[in-house]
């Protein structure tokens, strides 16, 4: 799931500038779970904007704002409200915001910052486990991703800043390689820690990423 959080309201208001009327778009998937762009947050945004003297022409919660065709279709169903608005405020991840900007020629504003692909640890508690690097090495690293869990993304063991199995950047954070070491020890496979990992091949996923399935 894409983890996102709302920008400060003052930032959103400043970005609106002279746009007096706003149509709000939320997302029923990730932004709902992150409580950054679900039904409740869209409603709160509507209240806040109205109190700040802006007119809200309408709103919609799209079931997966990253789905470009669906966004196009759903916005068409609210054509009048969308047309009446000076700006569209999107409370979805960067992918969702761009589904909207691709569908509508007018002013599209981001209400959220997209942060990472996250696991849900428990309600309202998210952690990044995967960096979407396109070259998965979890098979070799005991199921723990050092590209993500190591603050430096090191592939060949801990750096010199590790101590007591903790990361140099934050003593609360476990060193990725200490975690991998514990897992490997449990399975009696620590010798694989001696295998050197070659430099990562960043050409595997050129930017911007693209995938077209063959029929």
């Amino acid at each position: 799931m894409i983890i996102s959080r709302q920008k400060p309201f003052e930032t959103i208001l400043a970005a609106l500038g002279d746009s007096r009327s706003v149509f709000i778009v939320g997302c029923a998937k990730c932004a709902t779970v992150c409580k950054s762009g679900g039904e409740e947050e869209v409603w709160q945004m509507q209240e806040a904007l109205t109190s700040a003297g802006r007119e809200v022409t309408g709103s919609i919660i799209i079931d997966e704002a990253c789905h470009m065709l669906r966004v196009s279709r759903d916005l068409r169903s609210k054509q009048q409200m969308v047309d009446d608005a000076d700006a569209l405020l999107v409370m979805a991840c960067g992918a969702g915001i761009q589904s909207v900007s691709a569908a509508i020629p007018g002013k599209t504003l981001a209400a959220l910052d997209s942060m990472f692909l996250g696991n849900i640890k428990r309600f309202g508690h998210f952690e990044q486990k995967c960096s979407l690097c396109g070259d998965c090495i979890l098979t070799e690293t005991a199921g723990i991703c050092p590209v993500t869990a190591c603050s430096k993304g090191l592939l060949n063991g801990p750096c010199g800043g590790m101590d007591e199995g903790r990361c140099e950047t934050d003593p609360e954070v476990e060193c990725a390689w200490a975690q991998i070491f514990v897992r490997m020890k449990e399975s009696g496979d620590t010798l694989s820690l001696l295998n050197p990992s070659p430099p990562k091949n960043y050409s595997k996923v050129p930017k911007p990423g693209k995938l077209k399935l063959s029929k």
């Binding site: 010199g160 101590d163 430099p199």
Partner: protein, 292 residues
């Protein structure tokens, strides 16, 4: 493109005890102090480590600073971290070093960017220390990482870092073995405060057959020791040393005594001592004297 062994390399090869020291190059272009201290130490130490944006604080390029030392007749150890350069820039700088006659290279991961004065920057870590050591070997083989042939073949005397006190030690040992396998000829260690941990390190690394230059850090006050514990990755000054500095009438002097005592205690487990004087380079001769 010198392949003449460096002084450091020759002495280690002859099993002579070596002394190295770290001197931080300036933030700016005025290298006069840097040269003054380095030249002053050149008769005392065998080589001077030129740090690479140490602690992620931006300073003059260590390649430039290493060349400045070399021109002044001081032997540099060019420190290269993986934090600020990708594989192209690292190879370029290494070729540049070799062409300028800089052979001693200390390969490091690099402190995290969040410790320094450019916290908002993007850290690179395109390669890690093992991959960078391997890169040196590839370049020495006459090719670059993409397999293209080099015009003129560089030659390096490569070392790596070690953290003898870090736990779990068994985990760090795997990485040290990998560093040796990747071509590191010597370790310059993080500052060591507990000689008993160095005994363990020495015993465990003996089969690797790599030279060990043990780090000694010069402290000047209890406040400095606490600052280091809170702000410098990989360094942990034990409570008893902090207490000793706290109770000292002249903490700066006591700091020198502690450094001399540690250097002597660590000598039996080491092929050399690496002194990190933290801006008090003037006392390095005193520590060197204590080792005689």
């Amino acid at each position: 493109m010198t392949t003449t062994p460096t002084n450091l390399e020759l002495k280690l090869a002859r099993d002579e005890f070596v002394l190295t020291a770290e001197v931080c190059p300036p933030k700016g272009i005025d290298c006069s102090e840097f040269i003054k201290w380095s030249k002053g130490l050149s008769g005392v130490v065998d080589a001077i480590n030129v740090t690479d944006n140490q602690g992620a604080n931006m300073r003059i390029s260590p390649l430039a600073a290493s060349l400045i030392l070399l021109r002044e007749g001081v032997e540099p150890v060019f420190q290269v971290t993986c934090r600020d350069r990708n594989r192209l820039a690292l190879q370029s700088d290494l070729l540049g070093a070799a062409a300028l006659g800089i052979r001693n290279i200390l390969v490091l991961t690099g402190d995290h960017i969040s410790f320094g004065d450019h916290k908002e920057g993007k850290a690179v870590f395109d390669l890690d220390s093992i991959q960078l050591l391997d890169t040196l070997k590839v370049l020495e083989g006459g090719f670059d990482l993409s397999g293209k042939e080099l015009a003129g073949i560089p030659s390096f005397f490569a070392g790596a870092a070690a953290a003898p006190e870090a736990e779990p030690f068994e985990l760090t040992l795997y990485k040290l073995r990998k560093k040796a396998a990747a071509g590191a000829k010597f370790f310059q260690t993080q500052a060591v405060f507990r000689p008993e941990k160095m005994a363990r390190f020495s015993e465990a690394t003996a089969p690797i057959g790599i030279k060990v230059i043990t780090g000694v850090l010069l402290l000047k006050s209890a406040a400095m020791a606490r600052y280091i514990n809170n702000n410098i990755p990989g360094l942990r000054v034990p409570d008893e040393i902090i207490a000793e500095l706290e109770q000292a009438a002249n903490p700066a002097e006591t700091g020198v005594e502690i450094a001399c005592r540690l250097a002597k205690a660590l000598k039996p487990y080491s092929d050399g001592i690496h002194i990190m004087a933290m801006g008090r380079e003037e006392v390095i001769p005193e520590i060197a004297q204590a080792l005689k």
